[in-house]
């Protein structure tokens, strides 16, 4: 059984159908990429999986490890192992990076019936992981994402992922706003998290990211449906021809 199993997923935003029947299954340990033109519904899919309000599922099912994801609240999904690295990470004035991470970890521990994490040990662990991602101590002390550059925000998302060790990671346009050096750092961070028990859904508009994070499977999403599925060669094909082939489907 796949780790994530999406069947015939339909979703609307403001009553407007955006996802129109998505079937997708991701095995444990696999990395799948979703590519597609702007407005094709990539972020919508990520929000539907994370359980954001206002994204209404009208048909279909999503299972994580066999559990019905759509029945769960946003926080329950996160505790169950879903992680969404957002396209536009949100600023949290007054909430420091450390507090944010500690609260997130303690929420998981609470759900598992464990005590709160030891503050000193946690600080050390976070600092070590932050260092490999180029997240400075100063960034951890400051309010989450406030005054961060685009690249800093994305690195901060990956740091959260590294600390929370989710089962299923969704990376929504993690490459947007990154220069080539930052892209390398972030990709290495993501690659370091690849493991047999963890799956990833890497959403991107461009082929560029996929030469750093090599996916097992690539899907093309257009007009709210997966139009094509293939291997790495699909990314190169898209790089050459763009999404024109799918324009008709998207129109």
């Amino acid at each position: 059984m796949a780790l994530l199993e999406i069947k015939n997923l339909h979703a609307t935003v403001d009553g407007k159908p955006i996802l129109k029947g998505i079937d997708l299954s991701v095995e444990a340990g696999q990395v799948h990429a979703i590519m597609g033109p702007n407005g094709s519904g990539k972020s919508t899919l990520s929000y539907v999986l994370a359980g954001r309000e206002g994204y209404e599922v009208t048909e279909g099912s999503v299972r994580l490890d066999g559990r019905d994801l759509l029945e769960m609240e946003t926080d329950e999904r996160a505790v169950a192992g879903v992680f969404l690295a957002m396209q536009y990470p949100v600023e949290l004035p007054g909430v420091t990076g450390m507090t944010f991470l500690r609260e997130a970890v303690n929420a998981r521990r609470k759900a598992a019936g464990e005590d709160e994490i030891d503050a000193m040990g946690f600080l050390k662990m976070v600092r070590a992981k932050a260092k490999t991602l180029g997240v400075t101590d100063d960034m951890l002390k400051r309010a989450v994402n406030v005054g961060f550059s685009g690249g800093e925000k994305k690195r901060n998302e990956i740091l959260q992922m590294a600390v929370l060790e989710p089962k299923f990671c969704i990376l929504d346009e993690t490459d947007s706003g990154l220069d080539i050096d930052a892209l390398k750092v972030v990709s290495e961070g993501v690659n370091a998290l690849r493991s047999a028990g963890r799956s990833m859904l890497v959403i991107t508009h461009y082929q560029r990211l996929l030469s750093h994070i090599e996916p097992d499977v690539i899907h093309v999403l257009a007009n709210g449906r997966i139009q094509k599925t293939g291997g790495k060669e699909l990314a190169l094909e898209l790089e050459k021809n763009g999404y024109a082939d799918f324009a008709e489907a998207a129109a």
Binding site: E73, D75, L84, M98, E103, L140, K141, L164
Partner: protein, 435 residues
């Protein structure tokens, strides 16, 4: 004009008789003023957002007797010298540091000049009926003098508590605690003022603050009166050249509260800071009214209030800044921000600038907001429950104001007090923030 000539609040306390001439005179004028104006009505401009009908309907009796006063949990660990005002009377005096003089206002007959020449000169009774009632009726209180050049390291913790002492504690009581603080030239101190109580009562408090040249006072107030209480407070401040007043008010208690702070900046290069947070839920009404009189050039005033209003709570913020013609180079900042957690919560903001000098930098503003959906989603997408996420965001919101408290251990105590409120009323707020 007088809507309630009987002035139950005034008659609750038998008019103090005898005493020194200066005091008798002060009281006579105050009582005459109170009787002339009566209690404010909704047509009184300064009170137009705060309806006093519930208070006027009361027939309180004088709060008598004193009780032990316990520290609120958030202040348990604060190293401080305690002074207790129970039902308006000084009931406990800790070991005061050298250079600090105390006079019990229950019997100021033989009061030294620094009391007799100052008391009643800072807080005016003419335009302020509650101040007039306090002045006419106070049966006790405390006057503190920080002598010239004295640096008081340990904060002075003034614990003001009101509660009925009769068997049932059923009757509404009224107390009129009076405070005078004189910080002489070059002296420095921190005063933490806590207001607590039990049952139904009216706490009509007046504090007069005089800050000398090059002197500094940190004045931090936490109002956490009982749910059934009325808290009416006037703090009147007068600052001299190059002095600093750093004040903060955390208002969480009482059924209805009015915290009024009026200041005259009567010298140059004064740094005047009054910041605060008001947190209310249920049917609470919380009114903050401030007035800053920039009478001299080169002074800076900073005022940031952050409010959180849940359920049907009603907040009021009236802030007036007057810059007199002579007060060039005034730097005034005033901001009131309120976060409404429910559709039925309400805020009235009335910032007012009256500027007669031409070379000044003054800004003011007011904002009203709600918790941001995308912030809630972000926290929840990391596994944090909705209640906890709300509490974190609200705490973070109020923190911006609490951060203004200059004195470190006091700041942490206030942060904890705010967090305790979140814990109780928003659920699950972190007890402390930061790395």
């Amino acid at each position: 004009m007088a809507e309630n000539s009987s002035l139950a609040l005034l008659t609750a306390v038998p008019a103090p008789t005898g005493g020194a001439d200066w005091l008798s005179k002060l009281r006579r004028t105050a009582v005459a003023n109170a009787e002339r104006t009566g209690l404010p009505g909704v047509r009184t401009e300064a009170w137009k957002f705060t309806n006093l009908n519930a208070l006027k309907a009361l027939e309180p009796v004088a709060a008598t007797g004193t009780a032990e006063i316990a520290r609120p949990a958030a202040f348990a660990d604060l190293e401080a010298v305690e002074l207790h005002l129970s039902n308006g009377m000084l009931s406990h005096t800790g070991d005061l540091p050298d250079g600090v003089e105390l006079v019990d206002l229950a019997d100021p007959t033989a009061a030294p000049d620094w009391v007799s020449k100052t008391l009643g000169t800072i807080a005016e009774t003419g335009p302020h009926p509650f101040t007039a009632i306090n002045t006419g009726s106070f049966t006790g209180g405390v006057a503190l003098r920080i002598k010239r050049g004295t640096m008081v390291e340990t904060p002075i913790l003034l614990m003001v508590d009101t509660r009925g002492q009769d068997a049932g504690g059923e009757q509404t009581v009224a107390a009129h605690p009076r405070v005078l603080v004189v910080v002489e030239d070059g002296a420095s101190a921190d005063l933490v003022e806590l207001h607590t109580g039990a049952g139904a009562y009216v706490n009509n408090a007046v504090a007069e603050i005089v800050i000398g040249k090059d002197a500094r006072l940190g004045h931090y107030k936490h109002q956490s009166e009982s749910d059934a209480a009325f808290h009416i407070a006037m703090t009147a401040v007068r600052c001299a050249d190059s002095s600093t007043y750093d004040a903060f008010a955390l208002l969480t208690g009482a059924r209805l509260s009015r915290n009024e702070v009026r200041a005259t900046l009567a010298g140059r290069h004064i740094e005047y800071r009054i910041n605060g947070g008001y947190l209310a839920c249920g049917d609470q009404h919380v009114d903050t009214s401030t007035f800053i009189d920039h009478a001299e050039p080169d002074c800076a005033s900073h005022e940031l209030y952050k409010g959180v209003l849940a359920d049907r709570a009603h907040g009021v913020f009236q802030g007036k800044i007057l810059v007199r013609p002579h007060a060039q180079k005034t730097d005034g900042y005033q901001m009131n921000r309120a976060l409404l957690l429910s559709r039925e919560a309400e805020i009235n903001s009335k910032p007012e600038l009256e500027i007669y000098a031409d070379d000044v930098k003054c800004s003011h503003g007011a904002t009203v907001g709600e918790l941001e959906d995308d912030q809630l989603f972000y926290l929840m997408a990391r596994g944090i429950s909705r209640e906890r996420a709300r509490a974190m965001l609200v705490a973070a919101y109020v923190d911006e104001a609490i951060d203004q408290i200059q004195r470190e251990p006091v700041r942490e105590a206030f942060r904890t007090a705010a967090a305790d409120w979140m814990q109780k009323h928003i659920a699950g707020a972190p007890a402390s923030e930061g790395v």
